[in-house]
Amino acid sequence: MSIEPSLAVTIGGLRLKNPVMTASGCFGWGEEFRAYFDLNELGALVGKAVTAEPRPGNTGVRIHETPAGMLNAIGLQNPGVEGFIADILPRIRDLNCPLIANVPGHTVAEYVRVARRLTEAGGIDAIELNLSCPNVGRGGLEFCVAPESVAEVVSAVRSATRLTLIAKLSPNVTDVAVLAQAAQAAGADAISLINTLVGMAIDVERRRPILGNVTGGLSGPAIRPVALRMVYEVVGAVQVPVIGIGGIATARDALEFLMAGATAVQVGTANFFNPRACPEIIAGLRDWLRAHGIRDVREIIGAARPGATPAP
């Protein structure tokens, strides 16, 4: 078949030209990657976390390589929502792909304040609530584990913004599907997962934890099987679109998540070891669909779920 397949998908009010977004904290606000590809190729750009106040980030070692993965404990370094609006937003407004801001918080009020300011400022198309940042003391951590707190944050922010609202969940829980249901019930337009698994490494010669923060978030191909399983579970538990994240580095990885039922994917750590990871995944998806005679990527969303039409 020589028909150009359609890659477009919809997440809440967002129309994406393809299902590939960047993952928060792994792509800056894109400026670092302009030298490697045209950012307008992206389905959407999810930027760094934006907090109410500026944050310096953690001291000491912040990243450490692990087998097929990495640990990070950046500590949400960012100029704060006012700094973001003043200095960064004007530089990226011209982009022709949806911009999504990632918002962590310590308190419900903090989430609401940042979401409101970003909505007022304009130029941001969706808000991804980071309900699971394990790196800043107890910051955000309390919001990830109980469905009640997830619901509280989501519904408070829901009342404060008309932007598409994505709830990003922590994988460090017994039952992620229950959190997803709570987020959906509270008004989230979509669920994204997974954030990093909490991990750690020790420097044997110095006899102490390697990361300045002791623990950090594990990401990269190592966690892909866990992420895929959680996405598969959550897709079965909610009706809103799910965005799959975790270890995606190739078009084949992205296809696994789409077939598990994700409507879109985010690419995080792969940007670090391949600055062209996103455009290569987009091109690879297109090629795979074309080679399989599939005209629309939506035909394969959920294709590996029970009851889906089997492969021809």
Partner: protein
């Protein structure tokens, strides 16, 4: 910035466990400036996962090739040292802020261990310039002294230091710096090497009021400014990314004490 699949043209062991790889990478060679680095991934699989940063040792614009010098210490460098000529690596660069070129009559180049590459590259680019080059090179033992011939060929006078006293001064390369600063003529210092050496060099330069630029290292994931993993404390208080605000910093830009404290 260029992202290329680069063929290995040459691989040679220049000292025990110290290797030089020559890559075919014309665009990077043409753009490279001393102090800059490249990110290299040597294999197609996910372990080791992250690229490794290597200072550019030589960039031959005409031949279109880039050389790096490294010591095999872990997984990334071990893998790199298996890439024989004809094999390929993925490489992107040149990255980072290069050395500012000197305006003084003397240039003191301080290199410790595998900190030699950027300093050699700088010396080569200064070979035709009207200034006196002094190279101070340190290593744990004489057999690990690398790049010395290159410095001499670039016209530098070279003084050596070894931890075990097997060649040159018995002690640290920074011991040689204090003496060199006593000699006449305004100097600019350029330094690259292990953290303690850099801290010592920076403090010596700051105390003497001599202009000093240092190429730093930090654990890196991306090399392009996106991960915020490679930060070092700025003198002001915030953090600077070594990969894009550095790797070269002026001595007064860094909070050396905080960096020492926070290091692994």
């Amino acid at each position: 910035m260029h992202l290329v699949t680069s063929e290995v043209l040459d691989l040679r062991e220049v000292a025990p466990d110290h290797w030089v790889t020559t890559f075919d990478a014309p665009e990077i060679a043409a753009a490279a400036r001393p102090g800059q680095f490249v990110m290299v991934r040597a294999g197609p699989d996910w372990d080791p996962l992250l690229p490794r940063a290597f200072s550019i040792y030589h960039a031959d614009i005409e031949a279109g090739c880039v050389e790096i010098l490294y010591r095999v210490v872990g997984r990334g460098t071990r893998q790199l040292a298996t890439l024989e000529p004809g094999r390929f690596a993925t490489m992107w660069g040149p990255l980072g802020r290069p050395f500012d070129l000197p305006e003084t009559e003397r240039v003191i180049l301080v290199a410790g261990g595998v900190g030699v590459p950027p300093v050699v590259f700088l010396a080569e680019r200064l070979a035709q310039a009207p200034m006196r080059l002094l190279g101070l090179v340190g290593a744990s033992s004489r057999k690990f002294l690398v790049g010395v011939e290159h410095l001499r060929r670039a016209g530098a006078e070279v003084r050596l230091a070894t931890d075990d006293g097997s060649l040159g001064h018995h002690g640290l390369v920074t011991d040689l710096l204090a003496a060199a600063l006593q000699e006449p003529g305004q100097a600019t210092i350029y330094a690259c090497g292990p953290q303690p050496m850099l801290v010592k060099t920076a403090r010596t330069a700051l105390a003497a009021g001599v202009s000093c630029q240092l190429a730093l290292e930090a654990p890196m994931a991306c090399g392009v400014g996106a991960c915020l993993g490679c930060t070092v404390p700025r003198a002001g208080g915030s953090f600077a990314r070594v990969c894009c605000e550095g790797p070269v910093f002026a001595a007064q830009e860094i909070d050396w004490e905080a960096w020492e404290r926070g290091s692994i």
